[in-house]
């Protein structure tokens, strides 16, 4: 096991001054046994930390990122140069207060921001893994995070949290390692990926695979990039992160840089250029094969499945405190799915809070300025940290 100062990124850095974080490499003595039956070894986890670990090592909070997120939670992204994805939530004096807590966020395995993924070189062939990379699951991701904590010498987390796929990981933590974490705060997620969500992911994957530059996944060897397919995947997915009301409010039928309809297929509407921009900026920072693998990890997530269909059994005798947060306009991970988790926790008399935040901003609300969410997170973490309630 070796720790390196600078993780290796696929893309050139546009903000070389930004903190690139660290990486831990696990050698042949520390293999990662995957749910698919294969073993990932050697492998690397790239991560960022914020704040200071206290002497008792009791103030660590693990933040799990979503599908296209990464470890740059609260600091400028070295590759894109953009601010961290949760700067309103995490930082000095913020709800997840880095003056008080030691925050860890690791890029998921299968990802493309320094942790081992399909774009990395397969040591057995000397070529990029591409589709030879094993399928990873949310449980595998969580297992690798536990190994990272071992490497950092942290036995118990004060809390684990995340939105969307990050929330899935938080739930998996509660099921896999209930004694290694005190509080679990899944946001805008579900204990299983729904048929509709799998459907949207499949549209995205097919868009990537239909791009001639994808080359059966071996685009690195051919010196191409399936940017068009990946952009379409991102565009379709991005719609699911918003809500009809928010789209209408933000864009309506407004035209983009023109007075009248063009009677052509160039983008007339603001919503079209917005999606084009979302797609174009995404391909600059994300690897197409990673997108295939991580969407698959989400599709495979069904926590109850591991417990003979009884979700409550995933949390039986749980010593954890839970705080579940959903958003009224989130149709990707609707309140009813979040509440299903709360009901399962009630059924085993676990200590659970459930809050639904009223907003029209859709699934992405967890990334946005939602004061009620901040109050909830602050109150919950404060009570966990002080041992009250």
């Amino acid at each position: 096991m070796t720790e390196t100062a600078n993780p290796r990124f696929l893309r050139p850095l546009s903000a070389p001054g930004a903190d690139a974080g660290k990486a831990v490499s696990f050698g042949p003595d520390k293999p990662l046994a995957l749910d698919c039956g294969r073993i990932l070894s050697p492998f690397t986890i790239a991560y960022m930390t914020y704040g200071t670990l206290n002497d008792a090592k009791s103030n660590a909070i693990l933040i799990c990122h979503a599908l296209t997120g990464d470890q740059f939670v609260a600091s400028d992204h070295p590759v894109t140069g953009k601010p961290g994805w949760w700067t309103m939530m995490v930082g000095p004096g913020k709800p997840i207060d880095t003056d008080r807590f030691f925050v860890i966020c690791a890029n998921v395995i299968g990802g493309c921001m320094g942790s081992t993924g399909p774009a990395d070189t397969d040591p057995t062939t000397g070529k990029p893994f591409a589709l030879d990379f094993p399928l990873v699951t949310v449980r595998d991701i969580v297992r690798s995070q536990a190994m990272l904590l071992d490497a950092l010498g942290i036995e118990t987390l004060l809390a684990v949290t995340g939105g969307s796929m990050g929330g899935m990981q938080a739930l998996q933590w509660a099921a896999s390692y209930p004694k290694r974490v005190r509080a679990v705060m899944p946001i805008a997620c579900a204990a299983r990926h729904s048929a509709q969500n799998i459907a949207f992911h499949e549209v995205g994957r097919q868009a990537i695979m239909a791009d001639p530059d994808w080359k059966g996944g071996e685009y690195q060897l051919h010196g191409t990039r399936p940017s068009k397919g990946l952009a379409v995947a991102r565009m379709a997915a991005h719609i699911t992160y918003l809500s009809e009301a928010a789209l209408q409010r933000k864009f309506g039928r407004n035209l983009q840089n023109r007075e009248a309809l063009s009677f052509q297929f160039t983008p007339d509407f603001q919503i079209e250029s917005y999606l084009h921009h979302q797609g174009a900026s995404f391909v600059d920072r994300f690897d197409a094969n990673s997108y295939l693998y991580i969407t698959r990890a989400m599709d495979y997530f069904d926590l109850a499945e591991d417990y003979a269909g009884h979700l409550a059994d995933a949390f039986r005798d749980s010593p954890n405190r839970f705080c579940i947060i959903s958003f009224t306009s989130d149709w990707l991970f609707p309140t009813v799915e979040n509440k299903r988790v709360a009901h399962a926790l009630n059924a085993v008399a676990a200590q659970v809070s459930f809050v639904e935040i009223k907003t029209d901003k859709g699934h992405d609300s967890f990334l946005l300025d939602e004061p009620e969410m901040f109050d909830t997170v602050r109150g919950f973490l404060n009570s966990v940290a002080t041992g009250v309630a």
């Binding site: 705080c323 709360a342 659970v352 639904e356």
Partner: protein, 207 residues
């Protein structure tokens, strides 16, 4: 939120709080803004949980560090396993539930003891108002018009006592309420409180 006595609590809630032993595992059904639950957690060190219908109230509770779930007594009590709570509280809420008998049965199943407070529709003002005025009563304790009241299952003290016994409950204590203050202990079967108490608090357990 750091009061050490019950003085800041509404008197009927304070009376319920006094019934609850230190360190008990408590479920407060319809916990409102969490005033009672917070008092119990901070002062009596209970392991407290709440269910509350209003999401605004739930959010306030969680921001105060309380473990509260959005839900309602009718739909969600069924989710809770039997016997895990020492104490289940239902304060001024049973008359607003859809299935009061089921709610009461669930409370007795979930908790070893249950504290229930309710307004008394047998109070003389209510009786007189209907008798003399010929209209649905509106009183200090029950101020709604018939068409906008959330209180869809009002009962008298005698009615509730009947239901409790039918559910196999033992009434360990009964307190008469004058508005929201405790007027004193009462005999549940006596005719006096059913006529003169504006409300009541019952401490129940399954026989």
């Amino acid at each position: 939120m750091s009061s050490s006595g019950t003085s800041n609590l509404r008197p009927d809630l304070a009376a319920i709080a006094e019934m609850i032993p230190d360190g008990a595992r408590v479920l407060d059904v319809g916990c409102g803004d969490g005033a009672l639950l917070e008092y119990l957690v901070r002062t009596k060190h209970v392991d407290g949980r709440g269910i509350e219908l209003s999401q605004q109230n739930v959010n306030a509770c969680v921001a105060r560090g309380l473990a509260v779930v959005q839900g309602d007594a009718d739909a969600d009590l069924a989710e809770y396993p039997g016997g895990v709570f020492d104490f289940v509280i239902l304060s001024q809420t049973i008359q607003a539930t859809e299935k009061p008998a089921q709610v009461l049965a669930d409370m007795l199943r979930i908790g070893r003891q249950a504290a229930i407070s309710l307004p008394n529709f047998g109070h003389w003002r209510v009786r007189l108002s209907l008798l003399v005025g010929g209209r649905m009563p509106r009183t200090e304790a029950l101020g709604y018009y018939w068409y906008d009241t959330p209180n869809i299952h009002l009962c008298t003290i005698a009615d509730f006592v009947d239901l409790a016994r039918k559910n196999g409950a033992v009434i360990d204590r009964a307190l008469a309420l004058k508005h929201d203050t405790v007027a004193g202990e009462m005999r549940p079967d006596a005719w006096g409180p059913n006529l003169f108490a504006q409300g009541a608090i019952f401490l129940l357990r399954k026989s």
